[in-house]
């Protein structure tokens, strides 16, 4: 059975309208900036927020279709891992995991045995009697996952499951979460603002901006062919729209880029910041894409320096270049400094709008 969610919720001036499909065994990540409506969508699918319009159904089973049908959250076969986990502090870890089974009418003995099994699966057997308060962030997340999975839900909803963790544990917990999701046979909807979480954990990404889906596809596809500035920024590419005639692309916002391979019509032009190099004076030879540019910002990344440039009027208005710290020292970079930016045409990727 497939989950179909046509989620429409209006809240004041904010208007959410998403069409989601999640197949059994599939992990779909809803990726977007804060305030895009991701959590609202999760709440609507969980039944914590009634739809304003649209329809949510698992196969033939309708969960929400205003104004006729609304199934309360406790009657939907779901498991939810909340952003701050919301473990019940007055219950032990074992009782937390057993809670859903007890609520669904499983007898105490069976529920506890099943809960103990789940705690063992997430590697926390020795914490069965511990109070959630005494757990670390990563452990609490695993208990929350066990609690959500213990009832064998058809749909698993994860709301920013890694956001509350510190950087040193995230890597480990993410890998483990990936293993559990791989074993889970139901449908998973993962809400995140972190592109890395989405790329690593999901089979398919759905990117949401301002209440609308702007792009969806496999992680590799999204990483290669972003379609909005937000997605380009997430995957770390320079992205422009323009009209191609042969090897020349006239950019929508002004400037021209020359391609290695000819193209026609409206296209997206994408290239990594590492494809851009900077020179203090006009370089010798005749590179096809050479623009006079002005430095507008300098940012230190892990092992490279990202330089933000303004290459108008001949090139793009915002151009990102990744260069080495040594190159920064050689160029004596400072904001406002005029330079020459050169883009390697062979690293440019074009695809239709």
């Amino acid at each position: 059975m497939t989950l179909y969610a046509d989620v429409r919720v209006a809240r004041g001036s904010f208007d959410l309208s998403l069409d989601l499909v999640v197949e059994p065994g599939e992990v779909v990540a809803l990726l977007g900036p804060n305030g895009a409506g991701k959590t609202t969508a999760l709440r609507a699918i969980a039944g914590l927020l009634p739809l304003g319009g649209g329809r949510i159904a698992l196969g033939e089973e309708v969960w929400d279709e205003p104004p006729r049908t609304f199934r309360a959250p406790d009657r939907r076969p779901i498991g939810v891992v909340f952003q701050d986990y919301l473990l019940f502090d007055h219950l032990s870890c074992l009782e937390n995991v057993a809670f859903g089974l007890r609520a669904r009418g499983v007898d105490k003995h069976t529920a506890r045995a099943e809960a103990a099994h789940w705690l063992e699966t997430v590697g926390l057997s020795s914490y069965a009697r511990a109070r959630p308060r005494s757990l670390s962030g990563g452990q609490a997340q695993r208990v929350a996952l066990a609690r959500a999975l213990a009832t064998d839900p058809e749909l698993l909803l994860l709301d920013e499951p890694l956001a509350a963790l510190d950087a040193s544990t995230t890597l480990h917990v993410r890998a483990e979460l990936g293993q559990h999701l791989g074993r889970y046979e139901g449908r998973t909807l993962l809400i995140t603002h972190d592109p890395l979480d989405a790329m690593v954990l999901a089979d398919r990404l759905v990117i949401v901006e301002d209440g609308r889906i702007v792009q969806e596809g496999r992680p590799a596809e999204i990483a290669r062919r972003p379609r909005t500035d937000y997605v380009a920024q997430l995957v770390g590419l320079n992205l422009y729209r323009g009209t191609a005639t042969g090897t020349a692309v006239e950019l929508a916002d002004g400037g021209t880029i020359t391609l290695a391979e000819p193209a026609t019509g409206p296209v997206h032009v994408a290239f990594p910041p590492t494809a851009v190099s900077l020179y203090p004076s006009l370089p010798s030879g005749s590179p096809r894409n050479t623009w006079p540019a002005v430095v507008t910002g300098i940012e230190q990344h892990a092992h490279t320096v990202r330089v933000r440039l303004d290459a108008t009027p001949t090139g793009p208005g915002v151009l990102l270049a990744d260069i080495t710290p040594a190159a920064v020292a050689d160029l004596h970079l400072s904001p406002g400094q005029p330079l020459h930016a050169v883009l390697k045409a062979t690293e440019i990727h074009t695809y239709p709008v």
């Binding site: 969980a46 039944g47 914590l48 309360a72 959250p73 406790d74 009657r75 939907r76 779901i78 498991g79 939810v80 909340f82 919301l86 019940f88 502090d89 007055h90 809670f99 859903g100 609520a103 669904r104 609690r147 959500a148 009832t151 909803l157």
Partner: protein, 254 residues
């Protein structure tokens, strides 16, 4: 400039209590304490105050939930009405109860006619009068605790398949337990000390409606020493309540 009135204020509050202890007939105290009349009044007081507290818990917790969690329109007005018995002179409360639950009262007439139940001048009447006066303490305390509790835990319980009642019992109630206990203790102490509404609505029948405060008032006219002994017992109970509230529950609420 502030110190002198502050000290006078403190003395004003403490001197009567010290006077009570100073005038106590300590030599005859044990024998008077265990006299049949005192014991009877004390027992009746404890039973009635406890029953009234149970009644307040039964009705007050759902009422507090209604005020704190439901989107009921006019909640502000309901909350104001709930707190009326706090500021109402208890005698007025007693008169109002008589008018409603009395033999000729709005509801009382039918209760008597249909079920043969009559509240005025009975032990049950004492419980009703005490509950009427003490309930706001419980409702306010529980409502405060409910407002402070994070409703997202209830949502988490719902996603785990728990219906409203199960969620309330297993998630909401444990999380507000300190507030419920604090409210119940305050409620119980208020019920124990209730005088005005009780004597108006339930009268003063030894063994049936004469609770400790009524016995104190009665004894003052016949045997002042007994009044002092009874007062000391009530004072002791108040101190114990205060101490238990401070140490166990008020700290838990912070």
């Amino acid at each position: 400039m502030l110190l002198l009135p502050a000290l006078i204020g403190l003395a004003f509050l403490l001197v009567p209590l010290i006077g009570l202890l100073a005038k106590a007939p300590w030599s005859t105290l044990p024998s008077r304490l265990f006299s049949a009349d005192v014991w009877q009044a004390l027992k009746l007081s404890l039973i009635c105050a406890t029953s009234a507290t149970a009644l307040c818990l039964l009705l007050g917790i759902p009422l507090a939930w209604l005020l704190a969690r439901s989107g009921l329109p006019g909640r502000g007005i309901i909350r104001a009405l709930v707190t009326v018995p706090l500021v109402l002179p208890p005698v007025v409360g007693g008169v109002a109860l008589l008018l409603v639950l009395g033999r000729r009262g709005l509801v009382g007439e039918h209760l008597e006619l249909w079920f043969g139940i009559s509240f005025p001048f009975t032990t049950a009447g004492v419980v009703v009068a005490e509950a009427f006066v003490a309930m706001p303490f419980l409702v306010i305390s529980v409502e405060g605790a409910l407002r402070a509790a994070d409703p997202r835990y209830e949502e988490a319980a719902a996603t785990l398949g728990a219906g409203r009642w199960l969620t309330f019992r297993r998630v909401t109630l444990p999380s507000i337990a300190p507030g419920v206990v604090a409210g119940a203790v305050l409620c119980w102490a208020r019920a124990l000390g209730e005088f005005g509404a009780t004597i108006t609505f339930a009268g003063n029948l030894p063994g049936r409606t004469t609770t400790m405060p009524l016995a104190v008032y009665l004894a003052l006219e016949t045997d002042p020493d007994v009044a002092v002994v009874l007062s000391i017992v009530l004072l002791l109970v108040s101190v114990v309540v205060l101490a238990s509230l401070r140490e166990r529950w008020i700290s838990g609420l912070r």
